[in-house]
């Protein structure tokens, strides 16, 4: 449908005149603009495609009748006061030409211009709505200190029915659609489960789109070699914003071998089961196995490190955000520097809390080193610390990064000597911590680490007493920049 602005349409009437004056107007330059009013009509209650800007009369009688008509038009409320122009019959050609030029040409020209302005204004209004909504969302997140980068909004686990034949062939010949059971608002990525990935050449094509507006949001075309068995995270380049809509995932493959895209448990909600143009017994009441995440785009979920960037932004840096593995924490070594050896363990792993205990002692620094904790590419480290006893004395806590394959004690000693509260690229600075009020300690690196480093946690006494200063350090979160694994695609999902 073409909706380009045109000249003033012929059916629009801009001038009112009495039907008794019809002869004077017939065949004139303005005849197509005139709506004739029958003299017998006392009241005007309805106008169709009539926008009276002017009324004209050629006699006293028609002028009087028109005045009555114009008075009745006031009942319509919307139409502004209309000027009544008295013309001379037989001597009005110039008047007609003038009216025609002003109304037909002027209004048409103005309308054409205003149409383009209106179109632009509408877009601006829409953008303003989105900006205001987003501004508020950001402000709320800021106020709430809600910095959790990624949240799992929905998960449907893989399920293997012994009778499953696999839908690899189906994906190579056709496509499947999966509606996602979450609002699009804030969605940053989707994880799909593969029960096997072939080694030969081939591509998996995934398209994410809005159902209601039918817009494509993002597309991933991935070489099989860049996929791993189990979960693969398809990250969006920016989280879905604007109005909340339903998301549709369309998946297909190309290549000689088929891929083992996993299906989930059967569900009774038919609308959310896989749809395909080709029937397949595995698809009966089954959705895909998938997970949906909201939050910061470009951050992979902890347990799904294989992140795939969208096809058009696959070169952009990606951030992996994860917790330090428990196995590493278990191997924490006591690298304390102190003059007196206490008769209890000051550094140990708390089995059920996945945390480290780092009890301060007077006259020294208690330190635990986690060897090889930080991989190349790490851009930030953060931990949470608290005195885990209601009567515990406050203590000082910090973290530092130490080169791998090097004794960290000299750096621990140096940190103890400096007593600095100022953070650096390898030292968080000392923070005071007490019971009941956890503190966050973090190090932001200007550049990603070029190689692996050790992470050291430190504690020191404040004042004379360290009674019950059971300093617990937990929530070891690492952000690491990774090189993209996704290949650049060239074909769209089969249609």
């Amino acid at each position: 449908m073409s909706l380009a602005p045109r000249q003033l349409p012929a059916s629009r009437k801009l001038v009112l005149a009495s039907a008794q004056d019809r002869r004077a107007i017939e065949n004139s330059a303005i005849e197509h603009l005139v709506r004739f009013i029958d003299p017998g009509v006392p009241d005007i209650t309805l106008f169709r495609n009539t926008f009276p800007l002017l009324a004209i009369a050629f006699s006293n009688e028609t002028e009087a009748a028109l005045k009555t008509t114009l008075a009745s038009i006031r009942r319509l409320k919307t139409i502004p006061e209309i000027s009544l122009l008295r013309l001379d019959q037989g001597n009005s050609e110039r008047d007609f030409a003038l009216i025609q030029a002003l109304l037909s040409g002027g209004v048409g020209q103005l309308a054409s211009f205003s149409a383009s302005i209106a179109s632009e204004l509408t877009l601006l209004r829409r953008e303003r709505e989105a900006l205001l909504e987003n501004y508020r969302a950001l402000e709320d997140a800021f106020q709430a200190k809600n910095w959790e980068p990624l949240t799992e909004a929905f998960a449907h686990d893989p399920y293997v029915d012994p009778k499953d034949e696999g839908i690899g062939q189906l994906l190579s010949k056709s496509f499947i659609d999966q509606l996602l059971p979450v609002s699009s608002h804030g969605v940053a990525g989707i994880a799909l489960h593969m029960n096997f990935v072939p080694k030969s050449a081939g591509e998996l094509c995934v398209t994410l789109s809005y159902v209601e507006s039918d817009e494509t949001i993002m597309e991933w075309i991935v070489d099989y070699k860049n996929l791993v068995a189990e979960w693969n995270y398809f990250s969006l380049s920016r989280a879905c914003g604007g109005s909340a809509q339903t998301l549709r995932l369309r998946v297909s493959t190309s290549g000689s071998e088929t891929i083992g895209l996993s299906l989930g448990y059967p569900i009774a909600s038919e609308r959310y089961t896989i749809r395909s143009e080709t029937e397949h017994p595995d698809l009966d009441m089954r959705p895909l196995a998938f997970r949906v995440y909201t939050g910061v785009p470009g951050v992979a979920p902890v347990l799904t490190p294989n992140m795939i960037a969208p096809t058009d932004v696959s070169d952009a840096p990606r951030i992996q955000n994860y917790h330090l593995p428990v196995d590493l924490l278990k191997q924490t070594a006591d690298v304390s520097v102190r003059t007196v050896i206490p008769d209890f363990e000051t550094v140990n792993f708390l089995e059920h809390e996945n945390a480290l205990m780092c009890h301060p002692v007077p006259g020294g620094i208690t330190a635990g080193a986690i060897s090889g904790a930080l991989e190349a590419g790490t851009v930030s480290v953060s931990v949470s610390a608290i005195i885990d006893h209601p009567e515990g004395r406050p203590a000082a806590v910090s973290i530092l990064l130490a080169p791998a394959n090097e004794d960290p004690r000299p750096r621990v000693e140096e940190a103890g000597r400096s007593g600095s509260n100022s953070p650096s690229s390898v030292f968080s600075g000392w923070r005071k911590v007490g019971p009941g009020n956890p503190v966050n300690i973090n190090i932001q690196l200007d550049e990603p680490l070029p190689g692996p480093m050790n992470l050291v946690v430190l504690s020191g006494a404040i004042g004379d007493s360290v009674d019950f200063s059971w300093l617990k350090i937990s929530d070891f979160r690492i952000a690491k920049q990774a090189v993209s694994l996704a290949g650049r695609g060239k074909t769209h999902v089969q249609q």
């Binding site: 309805l46 169709r48 209106a118 209004r125 059971p181 507006s213 059967p266 009774a268 909600s269």
Partner: protein
């Protein structure tokens, strides 16, 4: 919509405009930006007397720039009126339009909205297509269900925004918006009109539109006065809100019952047992059961489950009691976990009785049918209580149990019984559901928009609330398009009042009505062959219905008021939705009559007699009825005398039909001739034969009879006497049976069959009726038709049935002594001179020939034909009867 989508199809966006001058631009612009490669688009803006000149300027410029934009300026008429002006414009100026999409001037469409909705409209061949609602500015969203239900739309809320794509067929059929300003829900009202015209909607979740929501809106205003607005809707669409219509919707869209057949495990769903049932496979049952838990607003699962054999269901269907029994089962399932139904054959009576058993009941006879709620099955599965539940098929039943015994006359030929017990079939299904792989995901809702509808399986409760009754009689409109009549009696034995109402039902049925007998106050009825065909349905309910009550006094007479401490719910649930209700002495129903009438029923009250207390105060049913006079459209009386009496209490003559009573059984001319020739053959030499028939109590004047017999014996009058009847009321210290026997009277127990009545009346020369008060006893007409001369006290309307010494003899004396004296002298006179009786016998036969129930009820039936609205005729067109067969619906087996 019946044709396929065509690229040249014209779709019109109609936009009422008032008060949104500054926002209309966005609405128009969103339409102009629509992506509609497969259809043409035009816009009609209907300005509703908007006071802003800015609106004029805006629309002038748009109309000047775009030929596809049309503008109608009109005086303020409200949103309904403005939309109607747009519709008229489309019909007159754009006659090739295929559909209209209504877009409010403050809302917006997405580029795909129009095209997607039109595709859905064409492919679904429905009246309109609607979307979920997502609002902006104030963010809110809601899921409007995966399927359309007229029942949901009528009784819960408006489930379709006006922002819907509507087929032009809707407007060609005359549907318009109501522009009454009292109507706060003009959009909801519009959809109800569509439903009335046989159109249905269809949801489309593949697109949406942008609904601007502000903190305050017209919709919020309307909701503040929701009760008044809903009342307006219901008054305007009365036909939609009647029980048969709503039950039909329920039957087609969210059936109340699932029936599991024992013979083959087949499954079917229904509400109205007379309508085609939706069959389903066990696989579907499992899927729907679990889906209804996770997505209760999208998927329906019947709230009640029953199992039995086909023979059982056929028997119940044939008994004409099935709808009422289903209501009983619903009620019992709320008192016990499981209900067992036992059927038995009884040729003399119909009866329903129930007993409740605690957990652990033993020695329960095998059930013919079992009934339970789906909620129990859900609990059993979620609590892993299958072992507990399985005991329903064991000797000791651990769920609490109700047993419903139903007896009625069976047909001669019975189908074979099933070899599988109903319990086993239910257990098989429940086990299959519990072990399904769907269980794993049952608690997860996949539809992400918040739920707006109530769960489908709860709709039967919403229906109860809507009708103000519980349980709701599961009967929709009858398939024959007949008017329906409910005839109410407090008991159903052999009383004259019951027989008259049976006769009335017979006449109504002959006149084309579907007739329902409601026995309210007892759960049994005697079988009377003569009236077996008077009723299409028989319903019983006694729980909580008092025979008499005194929560109010009217001219010193008791009546039951609305405040009476009784459960009105069952009565309302059973009686709602009939075209005609005839109350025959059911006192507890009077307070309900006004509500039934306001729902569309025509109401009549049948009165037979004014009773008398021991102090001779006039009393009885007429007074409670007169207290409710304005609720009744008509009164029926057995006599002109009672009609006049009612008039004296303010009941207009025109409102009252005096219906002369006739015999409760008919006799053929051959039989009359046989009886008369027998009388003639026996000649006049034998002793005079006296017959008394009726209760042996004070009202019937049994003491007078005894005294008269004594005097006749003492004076040596030759006669023999038979008294047939029982001491039912036992209002005397003496046994009248014994007393009469001592007086040489043969006393026999009551007889009820027409054959026994004919035998007794054919034997007797005289029927003696010394009653203290009567209405218009049927017995007089019955005696007359067999040439047995009635000698009766001139009480009540007896004088209207007997013309003195022409077709009977009247005893008219003010005192008991006077009555006895006159009775004795009359009997003596005819005993001594049998010739005197002969012309009276002939007169009896002549009178009997003149009488018939058809003649008696003719005026009343004529009134009914003129005034009783046939709700079945104005019901909305049913999808199930369309040639576009409702998916899954098959003919009832």
């Amino acid at each position: 919509m019946s044709s396929s989508e065509d690229p040249s199809d014209l779709i019109v966006v109609a936009m009422p405009l008032y008060g949104h001058a500054a926002l209309a631009m966005e609405a128009i612009q969103s339409v102009l930006s629509s992506n509609t490669p497969n259809c043409r688009l035009e816009i009609v803006v209907s300005v509703d007397g908007d006071i802003r000149n800015e609106t004029f300027d805006l629309l002038l410029l748009y109309a000047a720039a775009y030929p596809q934009i049309h503008v109608v300026f009109g005086v303020n008429a409200g949103p309904g009126g403005a939309r109607n002006r747009a519709i008229d414009f489309v019909l007159e100026e754009l006659p090739d339009a295929r559909a209209i999409y209504f877009l409010d001037a403050d809302n917006r469409v997405l580029p795909t909205t129009i095209e997607t909705l039109y595709k859905a409209l064409v492919s679904n061949e429905c009246g309109w297509v609607y979307t979920n609602i997502d609002t902006f500015s104030v963010s809110w969203r809601s899921h409007y269900g995966n399927r359309y239900s007229r029942l949901v739309h009528c009784i819960t809320d408006n489930i379709c925004d006006t922002g819907s794509m509507i087929s032009m067929e809707v407007f060609h059929s005359g549907v318009r918006f109501n522009d009454d300003r009292q109507n706060g829900f003009e959009d909801w009202e519009f959809w109800l009109s569509c439903i009335e015209h046989g159109f249905v909607g269809m949801p489309c979740h593949d697109t949406t539109f942008e609904y601007r929501l502000r903190a305050e809106s017209r919709f919020k205003d309307a909701n503040r006065d929701r009760a008044a607005s809903e009342s307006f809707l219901k008054k305007r669409h009365k036909a939609l809100y009647q029980r048969p219509t709503l039950v039909d919707f329920e039957h087609e869209e969210c059936p109340r019952y699932m029936f599991m057949r024992t013979e083959d495990g087949s499954l079917s769903c229904f509400t109205d047992p007379n309508k085609p049932r939706r069959t389903m496979l066990l696989d579907d049952l499992i899927a729907e059961f679990w889906a209804s838990i996770g997505e209760p607003d999208n998927v329906h699962f019947p709230p009640f489950v029953m199992a039995g054999s086909r023979a059982t269901l056929d028997l119940l269907q044939g008994s004409r009691m099935l709808p009422g029994i289903l209501a009983h089962l619903e009620s019992l399932s709320e008192k016990a976990n499981v209900v067992f139904v036992h059927l038995s054959n009884d040729r003399q009576q119909r009866e329903i009785s129930s007993t409740l058993h605690d957990s652990g009941a033993q020695n329960i006879p095998p059930a013919d049918l079992i009934f339970l709620s789906t909620a129990l099955i859900r609990d059993v599965i979620s609590n892993n209580a299958l072992d507990w539940f399985s005991s329903i098929a064991a000797d000791q039943v651990w769920p609490t149990l109700a047993v419903l015994n139903v007896c009625f006359p069976y047909p001669r030929k019975l189908p074979r019984r099933s070899l599988i017990s109903p319990q086993q079939v239910v257990l098989n299904c429940v086990n299959a559901v519990a072990s399904s792989s769907f269980r794993q995901m049952a608690d997860k809702r996949w539809t992400w928009r918040p739920m707006r509808f109530m769960p489908y399986s709860e709709l039967y409760k919403a229906l109860r609330r809507e009708l103000g009754g519980s349980p709701v009689l599961p009967l929709g409109h009858n398939q024959g398009g007949k008017r329906t009549a409910a005839l109410l009696v407090p008991n159903a034995s052999f009383g004259g009042a019951e027989k008259v109402i049976y006769a009335a039902a017979g006449e109504l049925r002959a006149a084309g009505y579907e007739t329902h007998l409601f026995v309210l106050g007892t759960t049994r009825m005697d079988v009377i062959d003569e009236f077996e065909k008077s009723f299409d349905y028989l319903h019983f309910w006694d729980e909580g219905i008092p025979a008499w009550g005194s929560s109010g006094l009217f001219v010193g007479q008791d009546f039951i008021s609305e405040d009476h401490p009784m459960d009105w719910q069952p009565l309302k649930g059973l009686l709602s939705g009939f075209d005609l209700v005839v109350n025959n002495h059911v006192m507890a129903v009077h307070p309900l009559i006004s509500r039934l009438r306001s729902e569309g029923a025509r109401t009549a009250c049948y009165l037979h007699v004014i009773d008398s207390t021991v102090f001779q105060r006039p009393a009885g049913q007429p007074y409670a009825a007169i207290a409710h006079e304005h609720c009744y459209d008509a009164f029926l009386t057995c006599s002109e005398q009672l009609k006049t009496y009612l008039h004296s209490f303010g009941v207009p003559f025109e409102k009252t039909f005096a219906v002369p009573n006739c015999a409760s059984f008919s006799v053929t001319p051959a039989l009359v001739s046989e009886v008369m020739s027998q009388r003639r053959m026996e000649g006049q030499d034998r002793r005079l034969r006296l017959l008394y028939m009726g209760r042996l109590d004070r009202q019937k004047g049994i003491d007078r009879l005894s005294a008269a017999i004594g005097q006749l014996r003492a004076s040596g009058v030759p006669f023999e006497a038979v008294a047939i009847g029982g001491e039912i009321l036992a209002d005397s210290a003496v046994s009248w049976s014994d007393r009469l026997r001592e007086q040489g009277v043969v006393v026999r127990p009551p007889v009820f069959s027409s054959n026994d009545l004919i035998k007794a009346l054919g034997w007797a020369d005289i029927l003696v009726m010394p009653s203290r008060w009567e209405g218009a006893p049927l017995m007089i007409a019955e005696a007359q038709q067999l040439g047995c001369v009635p000698i009766a006290t001139d009480v009540g309307a007896v004088g209207e049935l007997i013309t003195h010494w022409e077709d009977g003899i009247l005893i008219d004396a003010p005192t008991d002594v006077g009555v006895v004296t006159e009775l004795v002298s009359t009997i003596r006179e005819v005993a001594n001179n049998r010739q005197k009786l002969a012309p009276v016998v002939e007169g009896c036969l002549r009178s009997a020939q003149r009488r018939s129930w058809s003649t008696s009820f003719a005026s009343f039936i004529g009134w009914c034909d003129d005034t009783v609205v046939n709700s079945s005729a104005v019901r909305p067109k049913s999808r199930a009867t369309d040639e576009t067969a409702y998916r899954g619906v098959v003919a009832a087996e």
